[in-house]
């Protein structure tokens, strides 16, 4: 599991790759929370770009939802994009798309975050 953090103005882009499970979820949480609370305290829009995620289970979903809850508390927002088919299926099964909007590409997600759209360009699942 790997997280690459890149600030894009008012948005924090986190590109996640590898396997997000019980073992790696704490590292994911620490990296993202560390960036949001230490390096980029003024950013409260988080985009999780997941094209490189090869596995994700409910422990991984829990880590994603944890970031959603934290940012919601401070008036922020979390969206995801570029979900591989199997990862999208796990989000769907767990009902996470009811809380977290998903987009096909990073560009779509960034446009929606900046436009404040509610996610009508949501990824076809």
């Amino acid at each position: 599991m790997r997280v690459d953090i890149e600030p894009l103005g008012d948005i924090l882009l986190a590109r996640v790759s590898g396997e997000l499970d019980l073992r790696t979820a704490p590292e994911f949480r620490d990296t993202v929370d560390g960036a949001l609370e230490r390096d980029y305290r003024d950013i409260n829009l988080l985009l999780l770009s997941m094209a490189g995620v090869t596995f994700l289970d409910s422990s991984g979903l829990g880590a994603v939802l944890g970031r959603y809850r934290r940012l919601s508390q401070r008036g922020g927002r979390v969206v995801v994009c570029s979900l591989p088919h199997q990862i999208s299926k796990v989000f769907e099964l767990a009902g996470l798309f009811k809380l977290i909007d998903a987009f096909d590409t990073e560009a779509d997600a960034i446009a929606a975050l900046r436009g404040g759209g509610a996610g009508c360009q949501q990824q076809t699942r």
Binding site: D21, F55, S58, L61, G62, Q86, V90, A94
Partner: protein, 146 residues
């Protein structure tokens, strides 16, 4: 090689209940399941997910903050994969309730593990006794038979 579908084969695996071993369990089950040739790639991915959910539950909930052992037994018979994930941990007082969507006893979790397992397995059985342990039985058949 359609003959493999009639072969009965099994593996028994035992390991300590630590997060490091969840990936091992997934890889082992995916590799063993692929002996059933008619499983397509997405079904093998489902088996990885089923394994991950059941084994993670034994580690987190079966043995919270203490050491323990997880046992995995997988069998192939008549083209069906049966996986049994077992711990001798804390057990579940009310299985029916535990299996409901969004029910969890740990607030950092979703409570969707059993829901995901029910969606992906052809059959799911959960046997548990408090302070004795939990046994999860998962059966999965290829959608397209060989």
């Amino acid at each position: 090689m359609p003959a493999t579908n009639k072969v009965t084969n099994y593996v028994e695996i035992e390991f300590p209940a630590v997060p490091e071993n969840v990936e091992f369990a997934r890889v082992a089950m995916a590799c063993f399941a692929s002996q059933i040739n008619s499983f397509v790639l997405e079904e093998i991915d489902d088996i990885r997910l089923l394994t991950s959910e059941a084994v993670s539950n034994s580690i987190i909930h079966g043995y919270p903050g203490r050491p323990g052992i997880v046992r995995l037994r997988a069998t192939i018979a008549d083209g069906t994969l049966e996986m049994i994930v077992e711990d001798e941990g804390r057990g579940i007082p009310d299985v029916k309730r535990a299996m409901q969507p969004a029910f969890t006893t740990r607030e950092d979790r979703l409570g969707m593990g059993f829901t995901i397992m029910e969606a992906l397995a052809d059959e799911l059985e959960v046997y548990s006794e408090e302070n004795k342990g939990t046994r999860v039985v998962i059966r999965k058949r290829p959608a397209r038979s060989a």
